[in-house]
């Protein structure tokens, strides 16, 4: 089973957006992730799940180039992550809004920030940039709220604004860190639709790190279960059949199992 997942991954390697091979990372002598393989190809929707403390966040930071792995190799859009130049090719939605709650800014201003790395941060915005910003807001259903202050929006609407910010550079790869925690069902549905739009219309790949997969369970191509090492890598249907026999305790991962049934 594990070897099947590996060979499937090898096929996609030529064009892989994320290519993690044999990566380990330790804080001091405490190993956090060990010998992890993970790939995301264009048009692929991969979910990375695991209990708290499973190393998800650490692996994500390694992929984004904020941490250097102790062993193994990482390629992000074909480059060593810290050396990736055209970073607009990567769209990133952070775990919690890292914005202060009282920040005086409109949705449009926040989303426009997402265009800067692509348009050139020292340049004036051109029409094509304005259009990309508008399109990003439409794709998360925030067009009518474009000129509202973000601090007036609900938690779910704010999260969609951050997703639109990531969309604004028209990325080839979208990485989302726990984006749907504590978001209402309506926002979750729109969230799912906007990811599907990005994959189908723009051919992007998506890596979603989450506890909660029920909103997107029908569109995920692969689930990767991490608990220091990779416990499972394959399509969601197979995980439902084999999950528990892999030594993954259901109580560790209650939400995604529920979503996938």
């Amino acid at each position: 089973m594990h070897s099947m997942a590996r060979s499937a991954a090898t096929d996609a390697l030529a064009a892989a957006l994320i290519d993690v091979r044999g990566v380990s990372f330790a804080y001091g002598s405490t190993p956090v992730v060990e010998d992890v393989d993970l790939t995301v190809a264009p048009r692929e929707f991969v979910a990375l799940v695991g209990p708290n403390g499973s190393g998800k966040s650490t692996l994500l930071r390694v992929i984004l180039g904020a941490l250097t792995p102790t062993r193994g190799s990482v390629r992000l859009l074909g480059r060593v992550p810290a050396e990736l130049r055209d970073r607009w090719r990567l769209g990133y939605v952070p775990q919690r809004p890292t914005l202060a709650p009282d920040v005086p800014a409109t949705v449009r201003e926040i989303v426009t920030a997402g265009r800067l790395a692509r348009s050139g941060w020292w340049r004036r915005l051109r029409d094509v940039d304005e259009q990309a910003v508008s399109h990003a807001m439409e794709s998360v259903d925030l067009a009518e709220l474009a000129d509202e202050p973000v601090r007036k929006l609900s938690g779910g609407q704010q999260q969609r604004a951050f997703i639109a910010r990531a969309f604004a550079s028209e990325p080839e790869l979208l990485v989302l860190d726990e984006p749907i925690a504590g978001i209402d069902a309506e926002s979750q549905r729109r969230f799912r639709d906007s990811l599907v739009h990005l994959i189908r219309s723009h051919g992007a790949g998506v890596l979603l790190v989450s506890h909660e997969l029920s909103a997107v369970s029908d569109v995920i191509d692969r689930v990767v279960v991490l608990k220091r090492t990779v416990q499972f890598d394959g399509p969601p249907e197979r995980l439902v059949q084999e999950g528990v026999s892999l030594g993954v305790h259901p109580e560790d991962l209650p939400l995604w199992l529920e979503g996938l049934r």
Binding site: Y92, P101, T106, E109, D147, K152, G155, R165
Partner: protein
């Protein structure tokens, strides 16, 4: 020389007109820089840098160098030092500021007294002497003001992205370090060039108080800057007028007007149903 302009009382005299021009320029660029500093939770940056610059003045007087140059060197090093400590999370933004703030003013006092006591001219750097501004100083502050406005307006989008969400900006590949260093340097240059004219108190206060009002009234970041600059400029006009009419200290009068404007706006907004309360309860 700048000729006297036919302005009405209280600005009919040359010295008042020079104070007005200097004040207006500071009233414009201080809130402009300040809006970015406040988002970074570095509201006290201007004050902290002012006190480091004060140490530079002491050092200049001690070794016989023109104090403005040593003040500028100290201020830039101090501003980059605060930024360095903050970015590496060696200390929180406010703690980093406090370290430089207290060391700076202590060093300033020690250096100035080593040469023979605190003179009136040293105190002038703290509170400024807007009414004795000469045309050369006007030229300096106009040039500086133009430079600050040009840089900030050109780079407003990237500065906005970085000061509101530094972690995301880093992942997105925006030039976080160089823009933070630029903002720190701009702050240092602005403080030092203005301090002899309007005083550390005035420049530092105008970096924060008008912005506080801007945050209450502005729906957008752009709107916040516009309100902050309007309040800064308005406070200078009202404060200088008050100081002429009632013989008050001009720097202090300007700062008090800016504080009063915030108080009035905050009270009025709070008492209007559906105003301030809705904005806070939004999420």
């Amino acid at each position: 020389m700048i000729a006297e302009l036919p302005l009405p009382y209280p600005f009919e005299l040359g010295f008042m007109q020079r104070a007005l021009v200097a004040g207006l320029v500071v009233g414009l660029f201080a809130p402009l820089i300040g809006t970015f500093l406040v988002q970074k939770r570095l509201s006290l940056m201007g004050d902290g840098i002012g006190h480091v610059a004060f140490a530079g003045v002491g050092a200049g007087l001690l070794v016989g160098v023109y104090p403005l140059w040593t003040a500028l060197a100290f201020a830039i090093v101090g501003a980059l030092g605060v930024e360095w400590l903050r970015a590496r999370r060696k200390a929180g933004g406010d703690l980093a500021l406090a370290l430089f703030f207290y060391s700076g003013i202590a060093l300033g006092v020690v250096l100035a007294s080593a040469r023979g006591g605190l003179s009136v001219s040293v105190l002038g750097f703290l509170f400024g002497q807007p009414l004795t501004v000469d045309p050369a100083e006007i030229a300096v502050i106009l040039l500086l003001g133009a430079a600050v406005v040009l840089v900030v307006v050109t780079l407003r989008r990237v500065l906005f992205a970085i000061v509101t969400d530094e972690e995301w900006s880093r992942v997105a590949g925006l030039p976080v370090r160089s823009m933070n260093a630029l903002l720190a340097t701009l702050t240092a240059v602005a403080v030092v060039a203005s301090m002899q004219i309007v005083g550390i108190l005035l420049i530092a206060a105008l970096m924060v108080l008008p912005v506080a009002t801007g945050q209450l009234l502005g729906r957008s970041f752009r709107g916040t800057i516009a309100v902050a600059v309007a309040v800064g400029v308005g406070s200078v006009i009202l404060g200088l007028s008050a100081s002429r009419i009632w013989g008050l200290a001009p720097g202090g009068a300007i700062v008090l007007v800016a504080a009063l404007v915030f108080l009035i706006v905050a009270v009025v907004r709070h008492s209007i149903p559906g105003g301030f309360a809705v904005e806070v309860g939004g999420s």
